[in-house]
């Protein structure tokens, strides 16, 4: 019998996915758990495995299409009975395929998602025209993937909240600077989904929260001493390197415990306090910025934290990071220092209400006990949502982190 292969459930913050590539074509024999197709969401690439052995009978959604959870991607004829019963159906599917591929050759530009979006209902046509949209921009939930009025409305709603003004006006300066005589070309490239999502979320954060940043500086003499003293034995014992991040994360947890609002989030008119400490650590990857979340950091040893962080970073690099790994955090740490940043104001990761920015460590002359000494210093920044966190709390939160790091013994004693 035939099984419908559907888009798996996407997490709540993700509305749809792009079908990147089919690994199989209609008529191919597939075995259970074999990857059939890659879907790219705002955050990750998902694989859709075959639910059973059989023959891929019909592919319903072509490469490049936008799909939402539950959409039927393909139909799989299960088992041996399939090939016998589906003789005619399969032929048809093949015929369809050749038809489509010839169509593709003629009009490669129109290969996009909505072969079926071309014919739309009157209300949909009106909305598309009014908002100067193309049917291919909207993914349909109606019969056979047709676009309904509701689909366009929710597309428009999504646009509204994440609207980015086109950057055209910014090019004026560049034009003047452009070297005379050289070809003054420009390149217009559509944002990748990940980029578009980052843009949307950044602007979203900028517009909803009352963001304010407070700064401090931390003397890392003690942390560095501790680290160099135990670096080798730590690595031998636990199999991971002792990095700085674990110190910062543990220090942040102590701060969050003292100031629960910093670990909270805003939902409508409510403040939701989280009694757990799931910390997102921003990492850069080939595909862009990602924030994998480490759960229950307060329960973790330094070693476990470092091990999990390393695992996440690897996953982010090779693109196997899962949706679950990226959702849910209550607080975020970002380290601009690895790229050489001295000072920056991080932007919130909604719905979280605070983010800690780390920066580079520099030897600077400091006055300690009335004497000028050279110390490894780092500027710290906390951007916070002033709607629910008062300045006093934010400043004291950052001071707590500073104290923990300047005297790491506090981390042990939790004072």
């Amino acid at each position: 019998m035939s099984i419908e292969i559907k888009v798996p459930a996407l997490p709540e913050s993700v509305t749809d996915a792009t079908l990147v590539a089919w690994h199989k074509k209609a008529g191919d024999r597939v075995s259970r758990d074999e990857n059939l197709v890659d879907l790219e969401t705002d955050k990750v690439v998902l694989e859709v495995p075959a639910p059973a052995d059989g023959v891929l009978q019909e592919i319903k959604v072509e490469d490049g299409a936008t799909v939402t959870a539950g959409d039927v991607l393909a139909v799989l004829a299960e088992g041996e009975g399939a090939s016998e019963a589906s003789g005619s159906g399969q032929d048809e599917a093949e015929a369809e395929e050749t038809e489509e591929s010839s169509a593709e050759e003629e009009a490669p530009a129109e290969k996009e998602r909505s072969a079926k979006g071309g014919k739309t209902s009157p209300a949909v046509r009106r909305l598309l025209e009014e908002h100067d949209l193309d049917a291919s921009m909207v993914s349909g939930t109606g019969k056979d993937g047709r676009i309904t009025k509701g689909d366009v409305m929710s597309f428009l709603k999504g646009e509204e909240s994440g609207d980015v003004t086109p950057g055209d006006h910014a090019t004026a300066d560049e034009d003047e600077e452009a070297v005379v005589g050289l070809e003054r070309t420009e390149q217009r490239v559509p944002m990748t989904r990940l980029r578009a999502r980052i843009a949307e979320r950044m602007v979203d954060a900028q517009q909803t929260a009352a963001m304010l940043t407070t700064f401090n500086e931390v003397d890392l003499t003690e942390v560095m001493a501790l680290r160099s003293r135990y670096k080798d034995s730590f690595e031998k014992q636990h199999g991971v390197r002792l990095g700085f991040m674990s110190f910062f994360a543990k220090a942040a947890v102590e701060g969050l415990k003292k100031f629960p609002a910093v670990n909270a989030s805003v939902e409508d008119n409510d403040i939701v306090y989280h009694n757990y400490y799931d910390i997102g650590i921003a990492v850069s990857s080939k595909r862009g910025l990602m924030v994998p979340v480490l759960r229950d950091v307060d329960q973790m040893s330094f070693a476990r934290f470092e091990a999990e962080l390393a695992a996440m970073a690897n996953k982010a690099q090779d693109g196997t990071i899962g949706m679950d790994d990226l959702t849910g955090g209550t607080f975020t740490i970002t380290n601009g220092g690895i790229f050489g940043s001295m000072m920056s104001t991080p932007i919130l990761n909604p719905p979280q209400s605070a983010i800690l920015g780390m920066h580079n460590i520099q030897q600077r002359p400091m006055v300690v006990d009335g004497e000028i000494t050279i110390r490894p210093m780092m500027y710290l920044a906390v951007t916070y949502d002033h709607r629910i966190i008062d300045g006093r709390e934010a400043v004291q939160f950052l001071v707590t982190i500073k104290q923990q790091l300047e005297d790491p013994g506090r981390l042990l004693l939790q004072v």
């Binding site: 019909e58 009157p122 209300a123 109606g142």
Partner: protein
């Protein structure tokens, strides 16, 4: 050697015969077993729908409606008829003729599609074998790759009002009466009870309908049900709600029917009593003990949303399985089953099945009633348009009733359309198509409707949802 088919269908009603034809169109070898016997002892395909239900009742509804209008309405049009006469014999002959033509047509369709029509009883055995017992012959075991069970349903009999075929009768007998009863009782104000009550009331019977439920047409939208109740009362149908029948005794002078209602025990005397309290799945001698098919506590064959039974390769469709007992639902399930067997993708949108009651005015609806939408918690808007404001309806002298549309407040999707009025059963098709395509109210608003037509009432009701009706004050 036993005969072998790709598909054996048991039951030749609107589910089974359609499934058989569809399967044959897929190039499969198909047999359709059917044992329907008409009152004259002759076999005919088509099941209850064609022989004893949908089709003959529509024939009688049409004839009786014309008779009624000739008597009550022609004067208004300036038509003098002289003394109006009723020839029930001819009326019945016309009904029987229509039925014969249509059921004979199925035999023709079978031939054209190379479906083997087998007259006799079919019984599912273990291992996808079917025992076929011809009307006059020895049982034969057929082998099948796939079996579709489409055995239909039968009228429910009340223990205290058993059918005797003479005075206490079922819906089939009620269509074939040879004389107009002076006093007619009907138990059950459902679709069947109302249609049969209407037929005989128009032909001159005093009709009393006893309904156990407190709400009239509980499954319909309240606005529609209330309008219909008013109209039926005007026509002389005496409908008692909350009337629980406790006994029915047939005597020489007719039937004494006793019932309880709010004001205590009541009794009426009628000449004939139609029991139309619903239908039950019919699975008598359909399944061998080891066939492996499961029935639920109400006797329905257990199937999934694709009409698959527990046994691989065995499907069940129509009245014998869950869902509304409607011919069009059975037929579509038959198509789905045949397509699935052929390896195609098929599904049924159970949320968008139209219901029609062929009274005058007709009642038809699709989707959710206002009460159901309210209960779902989804914010909604609604609009309605009365036929009294429709030019076509006025010209037809059929201005009672209205069209009501319920739509989602957020994305404007049409959630339910409810019609009571002339040709409601035809008008509903537009709404079904719209809902099948997840249309918004605006889609209907922006679709051109011919003028003058009854369909304009659907258009105006859609406009009224957004307070934009053009031919009626919003």
């Amino acid at each position: 050697m036993s005969r072998k088919f790709d598909v054996v269908v048991i039951g030749g009603g609107p589910g089974g015969y359609i499934a058989a034809i569809r399967a044959a169109q897929h190039g499969m070898s198909v047999a359709c077993i059917d044992e329907w016997k008409n009152r004259d002892g002759k076999h005919a395909f088509g099941g209850t729908c064609l022989n004893a239900g949908c089709i003959p009742s529509k024939a009688m509804l049409e004839s009786s409606e014309l008779y009624h209008r000739a008597g009550h309405e022609f004067k208004k049009h300036g038509i003098e008829t002289g003394k109006l006469g009723l020839d029930l014999g001819t009326m019945q002959k016309r009904r029987a003729g229509i039925v014969r033509q249509l059921t004979g047509g199925i035999a023709g369709l079978f031939k054209a599609n190379k479906v083997e029509g087998l007259v006799g009883h079919g019984k599912l055995l273990a291992g996808k074998k079917v025992e076929f017992t011809p009307a006059d012959g020895d049982p034969e075991v057929l082998e099948a790759n796939h079996v579709i069970l489409a055995s239909g349903s039968a009228p429910i009999e009340l223990p205290f009002a058993k059918f005797d075929g003479e005075t206490i009768i079922d819906s089939w007998d009620a269509l074939e009466l040879e004389a107009v009863p002076k006093r007619l009782g009907v138990i059950g104000a459902g679709v069947i009870g109302l249609e049969l009550g209407s037929v005989w009331s128009r032909l001159g019977s005093e009709v009393t309908v006893l309904e156990a439920m407190e709400d009239f047409l509980f499954m319909a939208d309240r606005d529609v049900a209330n309008t219909a109740a008013r109209e039926f009362k005007k026509q002389g149908l005496d409908i008692h709600l909350g009337a629980k029948v406790t006994a029915a005794k047939a005597g020489k002078k007719g039937v004494k029917v006793e019932y309880d209602d709010k004001s205590g025990s009541q009794a009426i005397e009628v000449d004939k009593l139609i029991v139309a309290v619903g239908r039950k799945p019919y699975t008598e001698s359909l399944l061998a003990d080891d066939a492996g098919i499961q029935l639920d506590e109400r006797g329905f064959i257990v199937v999934d949303e694709h009409c698959r039974t527990r046994v691989k390769g065995v499907f069940a469709i129509g009245d014998a399985v869950r869902g509304p007992m409607l011919a069009h639902k059975s037929s579509e399930e038959g198509v789905m089953a045949a397509d699935l067997i052929a390896g195609e993708v098929a599904e049924l949108n159970y949320g968008v099945i139209p219901s029609v009651i062929y009274t005058a005015p007709e009642i038809a609806w699709v989707g959710k009633t206002e009460a159901e939408v309210k209960e779902s918690g989804r914010p909604y808007k609604k609009g309605s348009f009365p036929f009294a404001a429709s030019g076509r309806a006025k010209a037809m002298e059929q201005t009672s009733g209205m069209v009501k549309i319920i739509s989602a407040e957020d994305d404007d999707e049409v959630l339910g359309v409810h019609i009571v009025g002339p040709m409601a059963g035809e008008l509903i098709s537009e709404a079904v198509l719209a809902m099948e395509f997840s249309a918004s109210t605006e889609d209907i608003q922006r679709t051109i409707h011919a003028h003058p037509s009854l369909a304009e009432a659907v258009h105006e009701a859609a406009l009224a949802v957004d307070k934009r009706a053009l031919n009626y004050m919003n």
